[in-house]
Symmetry: C2
Subunit: 171 residues, 2 copies
DNA sequence: TCGTTCATGTAACGAGTTACATGATTTT
DNA sequence: AAAATCATGTAACTCGTTACATGAACGA
């Protein structure tokens, strides 16, 4: 694949748990080629820039398998959640702003769920041919769905709690 | 607070959604002082290194409020989940390894839930005095709990699916 | 005796993000 | 007329992680 194709492959599958900007993809492709894990050939095109098509080498495949089977010692991804950080300092933010942001968060979670559901459905229909990789993609998708559903539920819970909440001091 | 105290404050509260190693905390404290958002005084101690106690300045408070009220335009933290990444490439990993890792993931989620439940309980008992900040801490805690519960549930679902799954080709 | 706590940091590395640059073609 | 798509990247910046360094006190 080319870097550009890789980017859209990211966007259409693992995007919700692993994303990368094009500039990073190009950089990493260059670095992997320098290590002989990848090789490339250039294909000319008319009206568009040349394509640089990468493929994996034998040492690349070995390294891939090696790293893939080396599971992280701690499962849970270390989060840095800017939203929770702000909510933690809730007394410094107006109730109206908090409610607005929570409602926005619900909408965003629901918006994130939609394409995942669509992907799930599309996969279910393709299943027979390529069941093997589909099976695992479905499992990752499942977590994506559960994740965003949890977030939406949580935000609704927060809104409800906020409504019955009357601060002792002013913010 | 000193950098060291800050670190333990992190560990005892926002740790599950925002963590930082000591080296980063010291670096950032230095940078914030250079910007006049913080000031510090040194306190000598016997048998231990001197304490460097930081406090926030007026410009610091203003900047804090400014940044706090500037919510991220997209809510969902961009994830990079090493575990999902590996599962996505499931056909390259043995079924035994996957099952082992999933069981480990369940244990880890349950282990993460425990201290959060304890925190929740402790807060519930302290409530009357400092209800204001407690209220919001409870909400963040709630998401932590829901998050790990979701993860455990998901991993159990995966294990179940894996059991009824017999790959077409070999990995 | 060995690990943990208290308490400071520096240096180097790695990786994610943002901004910049180019340019034809196609869609809205 | 403007924005999106195709397609390449470079440069700079920020920030998180890892390793290194020091040293007393205290509990298991």
């Amino acid at each position: 694949m080319t870097g550009y194709e890789l980017k859209s492959a990211f966007d259409n599958s693992i995007n919700f748990f692993w994303n990368a900007p094009l500039s990073q993809i190009y950089r990493e492709l260059g670095a992997l080629e320098k290590k002989n894990y990848l090789e490339s050939r250039v294909e000319a095109q008319q009206g568009k820039p040349d394509k640089k098509i990468y493929s994996i080498t034998q040492p690349g495949k070995e390294e891939f398998l090696k790293q893939l089977n080396d599971f992280p010692s701690f499962y849970s991804a270390q989060l840095r959640d800017e939203f929770l950080l702000r909510l933690f300092f809730g007394p410094f933010i107006s109730k109206e702003e908090l409610e607005f942001q929570l409602r926005k968060a619900i909408k965003e979670s629901e918006a994130a769920i939609e394409p995942l559901r669509k992907l799930e459905k599309d996969m279910g229909e393709l299943e027979p041919q390529n069941g093997d990789s589909m099976f695992f993609q479905m499992l990752t998708l499942k977590q994506g769905l559960m994740y965003y559903e949890m977030k939406a539920k949580w935000a609704e819970y927060c809104l409800q709690e906020l409504r019955n909440y009357h601060p002792a001091d002013n913010d």
